[in-house]
Symmetry: C2
Subunit: 395 residues, 2 copies
């Protein structure tokens, strides 16, 4: 069977092989990218689903508008308002998880050979998703304050990309938080170079201390002319439940209309049953308490992992303590002749019954093999301490 030529652009084996080993009994895994099931507000979601079927069964079970189920669009508009963004319900579309927002951006915007700038490192599924549409990806370097805007500006000027894709707040895998100053610079560049900026923001609500700076979308309201160059992707997956597959995209009207047309032929619409349930949940007013709970638990786990990494690996590893999100992004320093290849460490770690993800596959170009990603989301403090101790032994 001869498959489409676009499949030649993707390579998925790297992490897949590792994940096959995660079933090993007794393993402590920091490899996943998912939230802890124990955080799910099952009671609240159950009530929401029942209200949806009691009050609006016709809407919840029938075909719906491709743009999204109207009551959910209204609730998401209100939710965005709590985060400083004024957007009419008609200014957003509901997507099947924010992964679909990325797919629709690819389908709508990328012709084969088009250049797209991403962070180095960036979300693995973004790399593959855009490459399936033939994108030529260019990496902009990242430090503890997010993407380096000076370097980014040079790349935009040189490559004139179709768009720039950023995860500015507690990004996967970098965990970094783009500073307020750099956010403003990104907006100025959007206007100066007339370049679309895609802000992917699934983690912005998961902060542990002070709230992060406002989103790029929110700040665009104070940088004249910039709003029309911003697309923003949101998600309920990390804060409420990934299984609902509820994401959304806010974008200029013309882009939103084209993305909606593409979505019509991708999956017609996102499950109205899941949408009605999410709308009822948001309306119930339980979200603030849910957010407070996940922030507290993940914050404690992040604290524990940072302390354990310092205690167990010392100067053989460098990292910035994340202020939110689900991930530590770390680098093996090679100090004292210790290992500096995270791929080799990953193999040794499995033998010690602890797992993480090497960082190299997260780079669209110029992979740094000394890097690694550790999730603190799904193991409790005790397991985190035990797991990092095993990692120290593996090193």
């Amino acid at each position: 069977m001869q498959f489409a030529s676009r499949l030649d652009n993707v390579e998925t084996s790297a992490i897949r092989e590792l994940f096959k080993l995660l079933g090993t009994p007794g393993i402590i895994s920091f490899a996943g990218g998912f939230p802890d099931s124990a955080m799910f507000d099952v009671k609240g979601l159950k009530e929401a689903a029942n209200r949806a079927l009691d009050q609006e069964a016709g809407g919840a079970l029938q075909y719906g508008a491709t743009e999204g189920y109207e009551p959910l669009r209204k609730q998401l508009s209100a939710f965005m308002k709590t985060k400083g963004v004024e957007v009419d319900p008609s200014g957003l579309i509901v997507t099947t998880g924010s992964q679909q927002a990325l797919d629709l951006l690819g389908k709508t915007m990328i012709s084969p050979g088009d250049k797209v700038i991403v962070e180095g490192p960036t979300f693995l599924a973004t790399i593959q998703c855009f490459r399936l549409y033939g994108a030529h990806l260019i990496s902009a370097p990242v430090d503890a304050n997010g993407v380096k805007t000076d370097e980014l500006e040079k790349l935009i000027a040189e490559h004139k990309p179709k768009f720039v894709y950023l995860i500015p707040t507690f990004g996967n895998p970098s965990g970094a938080m783009l500073s307020l100053e750099r956010r403003k610079k990104v907006l100025e560049m959007a206007v100066k170079y007339q370049t679309l900026i895609v802000e992917d923001d699934p983690y912005g609500d998961l902060y542990f201390g002070e709230a992060p700076p406002p989103s790029i979308l929110s700040l665009s309201q104070s940088v004249p002319g910039s709003r029309e160059f911003i697309a923003h992707c949101g998600s309920l997956s990390k804060v409420l439940s990934p299984g609902l597959r509820i994401g959304w995209m806010i974008a200029p009207a013309e882009l939103l209309a084209k993305a909606t047309m593409c979505k019509q032929f991708s999956d017609a619409h996102t499950s109205t049953f899941a949408q009605a349930t999410a709308a009822q949940y948001l309306q119930s007013g339980r979200m603030p308490a849910t957010l407070a709970h996940v922030r507290k638990v993940y914050g404690e786990r992040a604290q524990a992992m940072g302390a354990a990494l310092q205690r167990e690996l010392g100067d053989a590893i460098s990292f910035t303590q994340p202020a939110g999100g689900l991930f530590f992004w770390a680098r093996l320093t090679g100090a004292n002749g210790k290992l500096a290849d995270a791929n080799v460490l990953a193999q040794r770690a499995i033998a010690q019954l602890v797992a993480f993800v090497p960082g190299a596959p997260f780079f669209a170009e110029n992979p740094d093999v000394a890097t690694l990603r550790l999730s603190f989301a799904t193991a409790n403090v005790e397991k985190i301490e035990e797991g990092i101790a095993r990692l120290g032994k593996a090193l």
Copy 2:
């Protein structure tokens, strides 16, 4: 903003403009392609959703395997067995409605310029979906017994298509049922020309009298070598609820693996919440009674519409009484100097407060402007009689 070149291949305005008029007060619509909300087994689905959240909240709310939620794959395997198909749960993947199965086939199989043979007429969203991947569509003619296999064979031999896409049972819009003899011919052609056949089957369970012939997939078990050339798309949308967005695809292992990889970057996975609910529903044993109910109600409506069309439009219209599905496919004959252009009739009909869809957009090439599609699914018998009387006046 400059969009991807693939968007130049699609045209969606034709029916969209008509649908804007459907909100007119007092209109009787035969234009939709959806089932009647009053048929939904709300009680059964509510019980299923509650059981899913009571018994398996972790699975129902967490990220899941791209291939599908294992309990649902098992139930769908058992469901297919009741329809004469032996398929292991690992031999099918769950899709976000069968629309997504079409999208994944396009993404996996179609390189720009590749030829694909479809029925003329065929499902509108299939035409647009495949064209977004750059397909060059070729139409095979259809009569009351489905696609004309002699013509199809000539087209396959001439064009060597990437695959052939058929809706053999009560197709949208043709309503036709491919005869047993022709099904066998299709299978022989698949082997002879080593050509993938895609069988889209969302309507096969909606028969009004005798059951239709077995699906092409089912029959492939008795035509040596043919099974490896069959992909089959199923859906719960027409028989249970479209809002769940639960479809599935059965295909050769290599194709299924590639489609799964594409799905990973399209939406990660179908809502596990919807999947767990569907699995619980299928397990509950309510499906046979639900099917019996929808068959009875839609059968009565189809009967009423056929009688009314003959009574009110006489020899100005020709059609075959459908033996299942949701649609009448009809042709204006122009007899006695009556109108023979369904686009003009559609405008006049709106003025008489009745709506249907002109047939021309359902043709990938060589549109027949005398054709039209009428859905009998959502209006009761009384409304159907009133609506067809209005249509007679419009003509």
